[in-house]
């Protein structure tokens, strides 16, 4: 179980959101929604151990994430950046295979898992292509496939559907749903329809440290959605 315990997050030492308490469990597909700048991405980065919490703790099965060695952390979490620039001409297959790093498993197993992820994301035909020569949507699929290859218990995905066309959005969402049967998927998403249709649980972030968590049905009421749209931040 992944538990945020009285967690306060910050960006460059500026507090963003305070006193979060919530638990994520395998078998759940979470959608995190909230207006721009409320701290959704920072929250994911803090959970993944990339940012340090300002206060409180991120606990995974009772262990504080910041104290875990990077390799162990990567076995628990895979993290999809909102934007990931590609700088080196690795092949798609090599890039996706990099998700296997934390496991030190047999090469044959790594290859098998990599091939499966390529297939799952519908990019096996691109396997030999350089990641520098991909379109934005293709590159997004490569990054998602890399996260899948990592086979972590928790997938933290920052706007995974960016750059994807409608057909692939639906396809990838089905893949996430399938993964969330055994693991936990936590996705930052701006598309309320998508969250409503696919996520089992929702975390709604408002200004002034207000938030709601629960199952999709209980959170995504007209009243709450109305509140989300009328939510005005004081960023300063």
């Amino acid at each position: 179980m992944l538990k945020l315990q009285n967690l306060s997050i910050s960006q460059d030492q500026v507090p963003l959101f305070n006193h979060l308490n919530v638990s994520f469990k395998p078998g759940q597909f979470w959608g995190i929604i909230g207006q721009n700048g409320v701290g959704k991405s920072t929250l994911l980065r803090t959970i993944a151990g990339i940012n340090k919490p300002l206060n409180g703790a991120v606990l995974i099965d009772g262990t504080e994430v910041t104290t875990m060695p990077p390799q162990l952390r990567a076995q628990k979490f895979s993290y999809l950046f909102q934007e990931q620039e590609a700088t080196l001409a690795f092949s798609v297959r090599a890039a996706v295979g990099m998700g296997r790093y934390p496991w030190h498993s047999k090469k044959a197993d790594d290859n098998k898992i990599t091939e499966q992820a390529l297939q799952q994301c519908g990019i096996q035909h691109l396997a030999e292509k350089s990641i520098l020569r991909l379109s934005g949507g293709e590159r997004r699929k490569v990054e998602i496939a890399t996260c899948i290859t990592q086979q972590s218990d928790y997938l933290l995905l920052d706007e995974p559907l960016n750059h994807l066309d409608l057909v692939y959005k639906a396809h990838i969402l089905k893949v996430f749903s399938a993964i969330s049967q055994k693991r936990c998927v936590v996705m930052v998403c701006h598309d309320l329809e998508v969250v409503k249709k696919h996520c089992t649980h929702v975390m709604m972030l408002f200004a002034n440290d207000c938030y709601l968590t629960g199952t999709s049905a209980t959170i995504l009421t007209d009243a709450n959605i109305g509140r989300l749209f009328n939510d005005h931040h004081q960023y300063d």
Partner: protein, 293 residues
């Protein structure tokens, strides 16, 4: 080959004077050129990974300069002339230069643009110190010092320590070849993928300093090998460090032997410093690469 005409048969005849030329002058020099070239190419590969800039090189970023400055001061002041002592002082110098460079360029995380600029400025600083030392040195010392600083193989003595250290470095690097791949794609990317980025960076920068120091102690500051060779090898083998590490060493070794042979023979019997040749090849290649980057 070289300034003296040598019949082939005489090479293997231990009574002939040519035997001595080949086996006691030429062979050690070739082996040294291989070790120095390989070290510099590897150091270039590593420092390009460390600063995330394809135009980095231990010479350009002042790592060689740090080693050379300390070694030069040690030689001039007459403290020590033994090869291994020079290695040690050179290592301190290049380590200090690398540390200084990282310290100046670290703000929460390493900023690649900043590190390159700082490195180039540091390299100038070291060059100035070296010029100062040379300007105040006695006339006799100056010419050989100048040669050494331009990169010259003719002083190099065979040394057993160097191949051993290189081998150990390469084994350590090969052990972490996947982490190096991930790190090359960015610090955060490596971190989120489970790489202990801090530890690997420490390994990279220690090995860079070590290889550079040995190369400088053996042959002075030879530029551009560390810059061009990794690029050539990437074109040949792709971006995986599993291939890059051994191939950079091999190609770097061959390249410097070729450059040194040219330096020795092209104006024979005058021997030119090999650094002149690597720069003559390196400058146009650098400019071409910089246009593409």
């Amino acid at each position: 080959m070289g300034s003296v005409h040598t019949p082939l048969a005489a090479v293997f005849n231990s009574d002939s004077e040519y035997f001595e030329i080949i086996w006691q002058l030429r062979m050690p020099r070739i082996i040294n050129a291989m070790l120095v070239g390989g070290s510099l190419a590897l150091a270039g590969l590593l420092i390009q990974n460390l600063v995330k800039n394809p135009l980095a090189d231990p010479y350009l970023l002042g790592v060689s300069g740090g080693a050379a400055t300390v070694q030069l001061v040690v030689i001039i002041s007459g403290i020590a002339l033994a090869q291994n002592t020079l290695f040690f002082f050179g290592f301190l110098g290049s380590l200090a230069a690398t540390l200084l460079l990282l310290k100046l360029s670290y703000h929460g995380q390493i900023k690649p643009e900043k590190i390159t600029l700082n490195g180039v400025v540091l390299a100038f600083g070291f060059a100035a110190i070296i010029s100062f030392v040379l300007a105040t040195a006695s006339g006799q010392q100056v010419k050989s010092m100048m040669f050494w600083l331009m990169g010259d193989m003719s002083f190099a003595q065979p040394n057993l320590l160097m191949p051993v250290v290189i081998l150990a470095c390469m084994l350590l690097l090969m052990k972490h070849h996947r982490a190096l791949d991930l790190l090359a794609r960015g610090e955060l990317f490596a971190l989120k993928s489970g790489v202990n980025a801090q530890r690997i960076n420490l390994i990279i920068f220690t090995i860079t300093a070590l290889l550079t120091a040995m190369a400088v102690a053996q042959a002075g500051t030879i530029g551009f090998v560390g810059l061009i060779i990794p690029h050539l090898v990437r074109l040949m083998t792709g971006f995986k460090h599993q291939n890059l590490i051994p191939m950079c060493f091999l190609v770097g070794a061959c390249f410097l032997v070729a450059a040194d042979t040219l330096a020795r023979t092209i104006m024979s019997p005058i021997q030119l410093p090999v650094g002149v040749f690597t720069a003559m090849i390196g400058v146009p290649v650098f400019l071409m690469l910089n246009r593409k980057v």
